[in-house]
């Protein structure tokens, strides 16, 4: 028996005796945090039921925008919702000037190609491979995203269509170019969309990014830019 068989055999042996289901040990008595009777519908539990206990994400596109903006403010994500791609490019140029971007990193896609052209700065494209030291000296990584989430103020990047694993996390500033119709209500929606986009051919990495990099490891004081980007900007139109 190899190790896998050994471990599986131990598991099967252990599981011959059943364990009590949760909520049946009845702690907490009456009056305090009384849980509802165990629902016990496992997979295939309707999405609506799940939503009824998670933090709300909003139900209309306008609510989604408001929620995402509020979450971004709390996270210190620089969220800019503009009217057109041209305006997004104008904002991008503004930020580039303000921060003095010398080198830009990005990947090829309709949105990023247009944006990097508009920026007209030396650009490293990570598609097809790159030298990590070259990415390390870039001031910004500009990517698209799969979906954004109002409930949490998050966005999703992946290793295949967002320029690889490092582009969105190594440079000190991550800029995301997004369309309004990519903004969904909650994580449940987001995971469904991710499955639609990638379910037949999964990228090796999919990351839910929520705000710039942060740490509280020193006296529980919030510091941005621990290892990942210190700044996260979302340009949406």
């Amino acid at each position: 028996m190899n190790a896998q068989e050994r471990i599986l055999a131990r598991i099967r042996e252990a599981l011959k005796v059943s364990a009590p289901k949760p909520g049946s040990h009845g702690h907490g008595g009456h009056g305090r945090d009384v849980a509802p009777a165990p629902v016990f519908a496992f997979q295939g539990r309707p999405v609506q039921v799940a939503r009824s206990w998670l933090p709300p994400g909003g139900s209309t596109p306008q609510e989604h925008l408001t929620r995402f903006a509020a979450a971004s403010a709390e996270l210190k994500t620089d969220f800019r919702c503009v009217e057109s791609e041209a305006e997004a490019h104008a904002q991008l140029r503004q930020i580039a000037d303000a921060e003095g971007w010398a080198r830009v990193a990005s990947h090829h896609s309709p949105l990023t190609d247009a944006a990097t052209t508009a920026l007209a700065r030396p650009t490293l494209f990570t598609d097809g491979g790159y030298v990590p030291d070259d990415l390390e000296v870039c001031d910004v990584g500009i990517t698209t995203c799969d979906v954004l989430v109002a409930q949490t103020g998050s966005l999703v990047v992946n290793s295949r269509t967002s320029g690889g694993r490092a582009l969105s996390v190594l440079p000190p500033h991550h800029v995301v170019l997004a369309r309004k119709d990519q903004l969904l209500g909650d994580l449940t929606d987001a995971f469904q969309r991710i499955e639609q986009l990638h379910g037949t051919h999964w990228p090796s990495m999919i990351s839910l990014v929520t705000g710039p990099s942060r740490t509280g490891d020193i006296e529980r004081i919030l510091v941005l830019g621990a290892h990942g980007p210190k700044k996260l900007t979302v340009l949406m139109w």
Binding site: H27, H30, R32, V34
Partner: protein, 238 residues
Amino acid sequence: MNVTLFIPCFVDTCFPQVGMHMVRILERLGHRVTCPEAVACCGQPAFNSGYWDEARIVADKTLHHLRDAEAVVIASGSCGAMLKVFYPQLYAGRPEEAAAQRLSEHTWEFSDFLVSKLGVTDLGARFPGKVTFHDGCHGLRELGIKSGPRKLLEKVRDLELIEMGDAETCCGFGGTFAAKFPMISTAMGEVKCASAADTGAEYMVSNDSSCLMHLQGLLSRQGKPLKTLHLAQILDSQ
């Protein structure tokens, strides 16, 4: 109702006034109170130490004397939890299981009995003073007692209730824990007493005499002015 009082050994020996107040309150409400002489311990000390067989030696006796009681009322959340929550576990799969289950259903901690069973919150009591309430852990988390004592205290005339930040944090008694890990027990008690003192209250009140024994012990040793009282003492004040 016929109310059977369970008076644990430390209440019997060191805090008899708590029992006396309970008797007076219940009799004033028109109930007949009895107290079986032979019952002195719920068996929790041995149980908590992992000696369940030895705990059953004590619990057998207690179960025997209380099995037919209409209502068993206890001055302490921890002993109350032992009868209500842990006896059914202690006797699971044994011949006494049904009796333990029945006893569990007929047992109440004192404040819970007044508020949940009798539906009484106003006992006509008067106690001028600033008071803060300590939630004994067993009462709070095993028996779900939180609002009951506060509803009772609300109705006490001239009493000002100020909640402390750490009302629900364990005081550090924990039964044999207090003797086996005295430095941790003491540290926890200090945090509790400091939280109570911060409220400016003159009295720290609880529904569990074992917690109070530990906290008063700390306060007396440190010469602190804060005084401890059992809920029954306040509710019987005129």
